[in-house]
């Protein structure tokens, strides 16, 4: 994995500290071309990995990348699925079955044979595969060496103790996509213990890592212990703790943990991207 992973929150008005900033981002990135411009700037600065959700608009970005493969030949995407709000809003409005019907391609009970059978036989593994395939469709033709499950889902499976789902996911991602499975979580220590307990060794885990312990469930001390002692491939996100930390002190802190392989960050301006990238390269 690259040390620097460029994220997409800023493009989709995800801002953890301010609804107002979030609105400003929605206005700025109204057009796909404005997203592509920032991506091109990141690429100019030497960034080659884009870690993004399976938001509807990412499909347009993928089309753009595919249309100019020469320019983007070294560019990789780490998809993170699913874009949770899409489903959460659908569940509120349509219920769980209604949501499955809406998002599984074709008609689950009929035309889409694999899905219909999956439902009838209550084959949840198959149902998961269908959802993964549906979400992965937009990345066809693009390199996706690591494929993540979003924290909402990872943490839900973790809490429900439905651990076999992790094993099924892990196997399917390796087999079908020839990619490394990744896990985003707000509960890194508990997740790592769980994955190890079902035989998943040295997993890629993306979690909040910052020196004030923001969104690090279990607490800073346990996180630091795991980062120092356990065998896994950590990616740090929310390193600025939603703006509470300055970039220099935040990334310098990450330098204390040599095991951290990559840092995920998003920015909208070339100068910010440049600054953060050079700090990551300096300290990691």
């Amino acid at each position: 994995m690259d040390k620097v992973l460029f994220g997409d929150n800023q493009f989709f008005a995800v801002n953890h500290v301010s609804d107002e900033k979030s609105r400003a981002q929605a206005i700025r990135f109204k057009d796909d071309s404005s997203i592509i411009n920032v991506l091109d700037q990141a690429i100019d600065l030497g960034i080659t990995t884009f870690m993004c959700t399976t938001h509807d608009r990412i499909a347009n970005i993928c089309d753009h990348l595919c249309a100019d493969m020469e320019k983007y030949k070294d560019f990789k995407i780490f998809p993170c699925m699913p874009y949770a709000h899409k489903y959460a809003n659908a569940v509120t409005e349509l219920g769980i079955m209604g949501t499955i019907k809406q998002y599984v391609p074709g008609n689950i009970f009929g035309t889409f044979a694999k899905g219909g059978m999956a439902y009838l036989s209550k084959d949840f593994g198959k149902l998961m595969e269908i959802f993964i395939d549906a979400e992965m469709k937009m990345f066809k033709g693009i390199k996706t060496p690591v494929i993540f499950i979003q924290n909402v889902l990872v943490d839900m499976i973790l809490g429900l103790r439905m651990y076999d789902i992790f094993a099924e996911y892990d196997e399917y991602i390796r087999k079908k996509y020839n990619a490394e499975p990744g896990y985003i979580t707000m509960n890194m220590p508990a997740l790592l213990d769980t994955l190890n307990s079902i035989g998943i060794k040295n997993p890629i885990i993306c979690s909040s890592i910052n020196k004030i312990g923001f969104r690090m469930a279990g607490g800073l001390t346990v996180y630091e212990k795991y980062l120092q002692e356990k065998e896994f491939r950590p990616i740090a996100m929310q390193v600025l703790a939603a703006g509470a930390l300055g970039p220099n002190e935040a990334i310098e802190y990450l330098g204390k943990f040599p095991r951290i392989e990559s840092v995920l960050f998003g920015a909208s301006s070339k100068s910010h991207i440049k600054e953060t990238k050079s700090l990551i390269e300096q300290y990691l």
Binding site: V17, S18, S22, E93, I96, G98, M156, G213, F214
Partner: protein, 338 residues
């Protein structure tokens, strides 16, 4: 270890199930839902016992507490049954379809000395806690007016289907979205006692409201407006905020930040003259397990701690949930007059 069960495995129920399942003091033993798909997933992947009939669940399992996250119309019979069986109850919001039902539940919980809580999770968001503290400390002086708002993209197309599109079952923006804001206003600023005007609007839905606009007066004579719209896709997810105006300043608060404007500096609170902005990073409640937002874990942790300590909490009691239902009825009555 406390034995816990959950009835209703929709969006909130599944989220509660994960939080309860991850709680170190709980043995999560049973779930109940009418969807065989969801129950089969629990059967296949967990050791939790599954039921499609809540009476059977109560009969077979020796539960210490239950989380009820069914459509609102089922709250009354389920909560009542649990309370009569001496089981502590966490019930999703809104509490009940009518305040008459809610009053009965408040009374039984009190009589049986059971820990009771309603799922108005905003009280477990650090910024709203801080807002309550600042208002108690009187930092903006005498309050004269407030604005309580919530917007989100739930119904953005003309269609409907689930119980949420049926008003008699607790569907619509008033029950679902606006109840959160009413409850926040009620507990942080003061209890509404008079509805001066109310409009319920259907935008895309048929039969239920998608927006609620109301002018109200609180027990402490403060006036305010309630502005809620769940058909607003300029918001990525539900966004709730309160603006409080006082003679010495103003506070704007949402789930991520709190902005304070003061006419004069407040040394005790270390607040400058003019604007001060504070962020959730400073106020987030610590949790051992995080799903979707710390407030969801924090409210369940609080409920479980109260059971262990045998002491009813002060946040989100049934009585508070009941009072929110009373205000909802007042708003609905006023809207009907128009």
């Amino acid at each position: 270890m406390l034995k816990g069960g959950i009835i209703g495995l929709g969006k909130m129920g599944i989220s509660h199930a994960a939080i309860v399942g991850a709680h170190p003091a709980v043995d999560f033993v049973a779930v109940c839902d009418t969807s065989s798909l969801v129950l089969d997933a629990f059967k296949k992947y967990t050791r939790v016992n599954t039921y499609s009939d809540y009476l059977k669940m109560f009969e077979k399992e020796n539960l210490d507490f239950v989380v009820i996250a069914t459509p609102t119309k089922y709250h009354f019979p389920m909560v009542k049954y649990a309370l009569e069986k001496q089981i502590h109850v966490f019930c999703e919001k809104p509490f009940s379809l009518t305040s008459k039902e809610g009053a009965v539940l408040v009374e039984i919980a009190k009589r049986n000395s059971l820990i009771n809580q309603v799922g108005y999770h905003n009280h477990f968001i650090g910024t709203f806690r801080e807002l309550g503290r600042l208002l108690k400390a009187n930092v903006i002086g005498e309050i004269f007016h407030f604005t309580g708002e919530a917007y989100g993209p739930v119904v953005t197309k003309e269609k409907g289907g689930t119980w949420r599109s049926r008003p008699e079952e607790g569907g619509g923006c008033m029950f679902d979205f606006a109840s959160h804001v009413v409850n926040l206003i009620q507990e942080v600023i003061g209890r509404p006692t008079k509805i001066n005007g109310a409009l319920l609007k259907s935008i895309y839905s048929k039969g239920v409201d998608d927006a609620v606009y109301s002018l109200m007066t609180l027990e402490n004579k403060i006036s305010g407006v309630l502005l809620v719209n769940w058909s607003d896709e300029t918001y990525r997810k539900m966004s709730t905020s309160l603006i409080i105006e006082g003679k010495k300043g103003k506070i704007i608060c949402d789930a991520t930040e709190i902005r304070i404007f003061l006419k004069d500096a407040n040394e005790k609170e270390k607040l400058d003259k003019g604007w001060t902005t504070k962020y959730i990073t400073e106020f987030a409640l610590p949790v051992n397990y995080h799903l979707r937002g710390e407030e969801y874990s924090a409210q369940i942790d609080y409920f479980i701690d109260n059971i262990i300590n045998k002491k009813q909490g002060t946040y989100n009691t049934f009585e508070q949930g009941f009072y929110t239902d009373v205000v909802i009825e007042m708003i609905l009555d006023k809207a009907k007059q128009n």
